[in-house]
């Protein structure tokens, strides 16, 4: 067993996991954060995307033990009890998610993009979402939602966003 202490969604958490455990598995099984999904387990589909120290990563490709002392943001950490994150709101408003399985990963990739680039072009959005597959054909609506949330986030810069 390997002991890992890390920050998840702002809270310090610890777990003892077998050494082969991936970050995805630890999030889902040890912390019951099932928002990140297992789609392919080889880093192709992006359904497991989370943000580690500000960078979007495929959590199925990262070992839990690598997370010692680092900070993870998952889809569960975006909204507050009384407010959706602007990205979540625009994804809902634009009906960007159909079956929803790819959704948490897409939203986390979008979050990483908008944190680094508050006013991305369509090409930059496409590039940021290139690692996230959707089979219900939702890309157009997703790009619309990212543009819309970017606009909303720029508008309320002074206000705190998660």
């Amino acid at each position: 067993m390997t002991d890992v202490t890390l920050k998840i969604n702002g809270e310090t958490r610890s777990a003892a996991v077998p050494p082969e455990t991936t970050l995805l598995k630890m999030l889902r099984e040890n912390f019951n954060l099932t928002g990140a999904k297992l789609g392919c387990d080889v880093g192709d589909c992006g359904a497991c995307t989370v943000i580690v120290d500000g960078m979007s990563v495929n959590s199925c490709l990262m070992l839990a033990a690598q997370l010692e002392g680092r900070e993870v943001l998952t889809i569960e950490g975006l909204a507050t009890p009384d407010r959706l994150h602007p990205i979540q709101k625009s994804f809902e408003d634009c009906a960007s998610l159909q079956c929803g399985f790819c959704g948490p990963g897409v939203i986390m990739s979008s979050k990483a993009l908008l944190d680094a680039n508050p006013n991305p072009s369509v090409a930059e959005i496409r590039d940021a979402l290139a690692g996230n597959l959707c089979r219900c054909t939702g890309y157009t609506k997703m790009i619309e939602a990212v543009q819309e949330s970017a606009k909303a986030m720029r508008g309320r810069k002074s206000e705190r966003v998660a």
Binding site: R28, L84, G100, F101
Partner: protein
């Protein structure tokens, strides 16, 4: 039940315009049955082909918020106390006799709770029409993705390690992969003694040979499509559990739970009333989650261990052990007049059915009926065959065979138009179905807007300018 005071409407409620029953204390009480309200339905109903205000409006999905919050619970997001994990050993050989399955070493591993093979399944066959698919292959392997043993262990990792310790002895048999070769009498049989051709369909209208003789020119071509996997982002996943009364509950990613329940009852020899299928939001189906896969095996493992058992397919298993889209070899022969009018069309379709029937009969029917295309043709002869091969089974996938034949007849139309020097749009307009046309199977068609759609599309796309 004590008799309650009859609800009365107070002046307050009336004046507020609520119209809800209010009890003696003055608090609002919701009626068990909501009052009927007469909506002016006629006034709101749009006239036929009138543009409704829905188009261009923003629509949100009722489940969209939970999806975005990551709070939608798919089957793999659920777990039950004491739950075990199941992994299935895949054959890895496409045609063979199973001589021996030795599970002793795997069963002795700490953490392995139960192992089953095909012989542990009461009725080891299922399928939506022909029941030719084993839950776990026993005695004979029909394609490389067949499961031969299923392990339940306390962790997924232990279950995976146990698979490697299961020893299976095979005696390789000749295999067949080409559907056209498989139709020959000399070809090895996938399901002996049955023929490899397991379903056929024939549609005849008029006299094609006469039509070809009367044609200005006759065109012939062959089109093929490849096998396609649905690749839903959510892999197949199920959890089986029993209650102390001997009732089975299956939480599953299945799209057709009632059909799945019938298959479970048959394979497990249980009355339907003892089986409960629970489906939640499916993470992509596209036709690939229309039938059971591992569920009977999970149910038996769960019964043997007395614990819930979860099975999640890996992405590899999604490709090798679930249904795919039929590859079709499509031969077209079409006779046309000088003006590009279709006079006769002969179609021969060979569907590669893979190792099991699954939804092949439905696909065969739809592909065959739609194969002449949306065109008025006096003389049609369409024949279709679906054939067993030692490959991953093919089944339902969006369109049930319609996309494949559409690719063929539209490509064929383009070739004909080019050879005759007619505009591809024009040749379609000259032949397209109109109001009251009848399909090759004799169905009289209504609300036919092929021409209108083509013309509108051409206008918007700028077809003329692009020429």
């Amino acid at each position: 039940m004590t008799k309650k005071a009859k609800p009365v409407r107070t002046a307050r409620a009336k004046s507020a315009g609520i119209g809800q029953p209010v009890d003696a204390s003055g608090t609002l009480r919701l009626p068990a049955v909501t009052q009927q309200v007469a909506y002016p339905i006629e006034a709101l109903a749009p006239k036929v082909r009138q543009q409704t205000p829905a188009v261009g409006q923003r629509a949100t999905r009722p489940d969209g918020r939970l999806h975005g919050l990551g709070q939608t619970k798919y089957i793999d997001d659920m777990s039950f106390p004491g739950m075990l994990y199941c992994k299935i050993k895949r054959a890895g050989i496409s045609s063979a006799l199973i001589k021996k399955i030795d599970t002793r070493e795997a069963a002795a591993m700490p953490g392995v709770m139960a192992i089953i093979t095909g012989k542990d399944i009461p009725v080891n066959s299922y399928g939506p029409s022909i029941k030719d698919q084993p839950v776990l292959a026993y005695e004979r392997v029909f394609h490389a993705g067949d499961g031969v043993a299923a392990v339940a262990a306390v962790t997924e990792q232990i279950a995976l390690e146990a698979l490697e310790k299961i020893k299976v002895e095979y005696e390789a048999l000749p295999a067949i992969y080409d559907p056209v070769e498989a139709m020959k009498d000399s070809a090895p049989k996938v399901h002996p003694p049955s023929s490899n051709i397991y379903a056929t369909k024939l549609i005849k209208k008029g006299d094609v040979e006469k039509g070809f003789r009367e044609s200005y020119r006759v065109f012939e071509d062959t089109f093929t499509t490849q096998m396609v996997e649905h690749v839903p982002l959510e892999p197949h996943c199920s959890i089986a559990s029993w209650d102390a009364n001997g009732r089975l509950t299956i939480h599953s990613t299945l799209g057709r739970i009632t059909l799945g329940r019938t298959d479970m009852a048959r394979t497990l020899q249980l009355p339907l009333s003892r089986i409960r299928m629970v489906a939640t939001i499916v993470g992509g189906n596209f036709g690939g989650k229309n039938e059971i896969t591992q569920e009977p095996a999970l149910a038996i493992l769960s019964k043997m261990t007395g614990r819930p058992v979860k099975g999640t397919f890996t992405r590899t298993e999604e490709f090798i052990a679930t249904t795919t889209r039929h590859p079709i070899i499509m031969h077209y022969k079409t006779g046309v007049s000088k003006e590009g009018k279709l006079i006769a069309r002969k179609v021969r379709l060979v569907l590669d059915g893979g190792a099991y029937c699954s939804w092949s009969e439905t696909t065969l029917g739809k592909a065959c009926i739609l194969s002449p295309g949306p065109y008025n043709i006096e003389n049609v002869h369409a024949e279709a065959f679906v054939v067993y091969t030692n490959k991953t089974m093919t089944g339902a996938m969006r369109g049930f065979g319609a996309p494949q034949v559409c690719f063929a007849y539209e490509s064929h139309m383009d070739d004909i138009a080019e050879a005759l020097g007619i505009d591809p749009l024009e040749i379609r307009l000259r032949n397209a179905f109109h109001e009251g046309s009848s399909s090759p199977t004799g169905q009289v068609l209504h609300s036919v807007v092929v021409r209108d759609s083509l013309l509108q599309a051409a206008e918007r796309y700028g077809w003329k300018e692009a020429q």
